[in-house]
Every structure is written in structure tokens, then in C-alpha cells.
Amino acid sequence: MDLLANLALGFSEALTSTNLFYCFIGCLLGTLIGVLPGLGPPATIAMLLPMTFTLEPSSSLIMLAGIYYGAQYGGSTTAILVNLPGESSSVVTALDGYQMARNGKAGLALSTAALASFAAGSIATLVIAAAAPLLAAFALEFHAPDYFALMVLGLIASVVLAQGSVLKALSMIIFGLIVGIVGTDVTTGVSRMTLGRAELIDGVSIVAVAMGIFGLGEIMQNLTHGDEGRSSYRAQLNSLLPSWQDLRQMAAPIARGTGLGTILGILPGGGALLSSFTAYAMEKKLASDPTRFGRGAIEGVAAPEAANNAGAQTSLIPLLTLGLPSNVIAALMAGAMIIQGIQPGPNVIIEQPTLFWGLIASMWIGNVMLVILNLPLIGLWVRLLTIPYKLLFPAILAFCAIGVFSLSFSTFDIWVMVVFGAFGYLFRRLDCEPAPFLLGMVLGPMMEENLRRAMLLSRGDPLVFLQRPISATLLLLALVAVVMVSLPAIRKQRDQALEE
């Protein structure tokens, strides 16, 4: 019964006309930017983040959630229509979605993606509502060594999921941790690695860094990849509505994808990417005729889209209950919460129940809005896709510059963006994935603080991490993950699964 009362509280907060308005604006802008080829959800969120700063805390988080779902859905639209996945989790959608579009079923593919996302989002919202209070209560059992161990596991998981070299991903994490601890040392008040700049005393702005890496870095990457960034939309849009038989065909894959995504999303470092890949692989295994996959199988769109959305949603659970962002998106959300004066963690649910449940309710409302918004507006998104990249990138650049400048009206943030834009481009060319870097940057200060606290309490005995059952289990999992990706046989399989 608590669940219903809590949800009622949440809906009474989310359904105020102001919050509904910001949820709508968030979904609209998120989809608008997310549809543009070459811009994934992290870049979209980083670009739109400054717009939420002036709002009330709950309105700003609700708008942000709307932006996130919009960006994700926009990414799927681009993947289906022009085979240009904006981010890795919609790569899978592009496989069969684009083939469906080429077979003249673009409308059906888009509505399948929308329905799958909606169904998965609704169920995942219920799961969060039911699980979050329990996990938040469990989180009170978490002490410094456990937090440290959980962060290690999360960072290692992001290595496992990064494509390519383990060494490079580890290096990116450590570089991220180093950038994360620039600024005043919380314990002693000493300035560290600030190069004598007063602007760095509060640390490096994560939004400026994210915009540099994901905004400017991606523009340069697209420009040098020749024609890849340009639109080539040709498919015809026909009926959007699925037939009764289509609905029956997609129901089971959606259910399976949702279940898988919900569970995998909670894992640190998991989220949308792992969920969609696994769901696709599972459908292919279960299908009576696996050869249909890759040629426009409706299950190949329904299951990954459901898993992707469910995973995206439950990946916010570690942030909301433990205060630990488990992927780049959650990291940006954490940054936004801190700017609003909310310290993410188990206390949010106790001290600010209206905000917490309002956010959860607005997740579901965001999903409803996406369906309502996208079915009539799909023609507009299609028109957007016909804009050549040549005309888009200067506009994206201008939005990034204005967005970063409006953070605190300091030109220093612009220099930070330029420096990390250069880094982002360089790293991409050297096959170093930027996602682990950003996660490390967010976790850096928390990791150091918990390490210090744990060591202080144990009087300098590092065995404390193995004596507490929670931290020992988490570290063991991290070790297993490292060993697994290092073994050549499993490595090969992972690379195949990520590429397939």
C-alpha cells in the first residue's frame, strides 16, 4: 500500500501544470536534438543541461528526465531511418530497424520502437518505485569500504563494456579520476593541481568537459569521417500503426527485453548498452528462424528497444539509492542534482520524498509523452533528418559554446571545453573510448573520500576491504570481471558480441 501512496504523492507532484510543461519541453527538445545524426544522449543532455539550472529542483530534474528519454527515442529514430546510430545502444536497433525501413516498413519499425519503449518504461518505473525504498534502506548498511568497493566494481564494469583494449580503458578511468580530484581537497582544504587558477578551486566543470568530449569531439570525428555524418534519408513513410498480427508478434520479445533490461540496468556500469545487446542476442537464439535477423525482423527492433529503455531507467537506481552514478548519463544527472543543492543518495528518498517520487512519476509521464509526441510529429523528425550535416555542425558548435558560457558566464569554462574537445578527438582517433573517462571523473572525489575514511577507521589496514562481506563480494566480482575480459577466449567472444 505504501507503494500506491508514494506513487500518488509522486503523481500529484509531477502532474502540476508547471512540471508537466517542463516534462513536455524536455521530451520535445531531447527528441529534437537526439534525432540529429551524430549526437548521442550524453551530448544531448550536456547541451541542454544549462537550460534546467534556473528551474526549481523538482522541475529541473523532471525536465532532465524528459530530455533523456527524448534523446534516447530520437536516437532510435535516426538509427531506424538512416542507419546512423547516435550512440552504441541504438546500434542494435539499426540492424533490423534500418532493414525494415528499406523494406518499406519504416512506419511500423518506428511505432514498434515507440510501443516497446513505452511498455518497458512503464514496467521499469514500477520496478524502481518498488525497489528503490528497499535498496535505500539497504544502502544504510553500506559503509566506506563498501562504497569504495562498489565504485571499483562500477569502473571495472565500464571497462568490460568498452570496446577495444582493456589497458586503454583502464588508463582512461585513471585519467578521469585524476581530473575529478582537481580542486580543493575536502579533508585538508589544500588546493591540488589547480595550476594556480582560481577557477579550478571548485574542480573542473563536468558539463564543460562532457560538452568538449561529446560535443566538439564528435563534431571533429564526424567531419573527418567524410560522408558518414551526412544524411541519406530515402525511405518512404507509410502507415505508422501496427496491425493486430504485428502486435502479437512483438508482445513476447517486448516482455523478455523488458525483464532483461530491468535486471541488467541495475548492475553498475550496465544500463542501456549491455541490455540492448543481450536482448538482441537472446531473441536471435530463441527465434525459430534466426536467419530473418539482420533482414528486418520485428523482434530485432522490439526486444532491444524494450531492453534499452528499461535498462536506461533502472540504471538510475544506484544513483537514487546509493548516490553512485553508474554510467555517463547518471553522472550528468548527478552533476545536475548537486548544482541544485541535492546530494544524491539514500537520504533523498527520506528527506525529499516529494522530489523523489515526483521524479519517478515523471519518468512514466515522460514515456507517455514520447508516444503522444512522436506519432504525430514523426513527419517533422523525418524532415530534420534531411538537413545535411554541413549545415548542422556549425549550429551544434554555437549551441555548445553558448551553453557552456551560460553555465557561469566565465570564459574559463570555454577553455576547458576546448581542451577536452581536443582530448576527446585525439582519444577517439587512438581507439580510447571516452565513457570510462567521464565516469572516473565523477567518481574520483567520492572514491578518494571513501578510501580515506575506510583506511582511517581500519587504522591503515587494507584488509578491511576483504573483511566486510559486502565489500569483499563486490571486489571479488570486479576481479572476476577483470580476469574474464583478459582471457583471450572470452575476450574474443566479447568483441564478437559487441560488434555483431
Binding site: 589497458l167 588508463s171 585513471i174 591540488r192 571533429m220 582517433r429 587512438l430 583506511m455
Partner: protein, 156 residues
């Protein structure tokens, strides 16, 4: 010894510079003990770890399956100059010149990032972005940046 994987070598060198830089910047900070860590403890440990990982990458670049790097050529230089240069100019100009003239220049410079952009489309796009962003961000959203900055005060 043949360099087989140039990408590993370059990333190794890059991380080595970052690691060494971290050690140099945090070297003067009190290190403390394992029980009571000083502000220099964590950065020093991270710097050392990064150097070790970097050296492993350098070593690895001479072994394993060959993996050539995409050449850095005119196109890469153009993209970097257009995008990064345009953004730097935005930072230098926006306070004094105001949003509209700044965006005009930024867009023209960023158009250099792509070969064959053409003068006419670049000028049209610059005008559209400059006017459009001034209206949306300054007039409608109330961004506290002048459309025409103090540079233009005495002139008209």
C-alpha cells in the same frame, strides 16, 4: 623491433605525459600515511598507476596484430582548426563584441572545418545563426549577454 600498433604507442605516450604531469603537480603535497592519507596520497598513487599502464601500452605497440592508424592529414587539421579555433574565438570575443558578431565570426571559422563548404552557404548560415541565436537566447530566454557588445558602443 617494428612499430606494429602506432595507436598504442601514441596513447601510451599521451598517458605517460599525463601521469608524469600528475606526479609533478602533486609532488609537493603532503603524502601522509596509509592510515591518515594526505592530499598528495591519492593523486600520487593514480599518477604512478597511469605511468605503469602507459608503459605497458608502449611495450605492446611493438607486438601483436598490426593495426595502422588513420593518417593525420589536411582534413583532420581542417576539422581541428575550424571547430577548436571557432570555439576559442567565441571565448575571446563574446564579452566585448556581444553575441551576434561573435557567432557570425565563429560560424565562418567553423565552416573552414569542412572542405568545400563554399563561401555563400557559410555566410548565409552565419547570418541565420547569429540572428536566430540572438533572438532565441537573448530576447526569449533572457541570457544576460549583450547582442552587440561594448566594442560597438561608440560607433552608432
Amino acid at each position: 623491433m617494428v612499430l606494429r600498433r602506432p595507436k598504442d604507442l601514441y596513447s601510451g605516450v599521451l598517458f605517460l605525459i599525463i601521469g608524469a604531469g600528475t606526479l609533478a603537480l602533486s609532488g609537493g603535497l603532503p603524502f601522509g600515511t596509509a592510515r591518515s592519507m594526505g592530499p598528495g596520497y591519492f593523486p600520487t598513487v593514480l599518477g604512478c598507476l597511469l605511468c605503469v599502464l602507459a608503459l605497458l601500452q608502449v611495450v605492446k605497440s611493438f607486438f601483436g596484430a598490426p593495426d595502422p592508424i588513420d593518417p593525420f592529414n589536411v582534413a583532420t587539421a581542417r576539422a581541428a582548426i575550424g571547430v577548436l579555433g571557432g570555439t576559442v574565438l567565441f571565448g575571446l570575443l563574446v564579452r566585448q563584441a556581444g553575441l551576434a558578431p561573435t557567432l557570425l565570426i565563429t560560424t565562418l571559422i567553423s565552416a573552414l572545418g569542412l572542405r568545400g563548404f563554399g563561401v555563400k552557404p557559410a555566410v548565409v548560415l552565419a547570418l541565420v545563426l547569429s540572428v536566430g541565436c540572438s533572438i532565441i537566447f537573448v530576447q526569449l530566454l533572457g541570457l544576460p549577454v549583450p547582442i552587440l557588445g561594448s566594442l560597438f558602443d561608440g560607433q552608432d
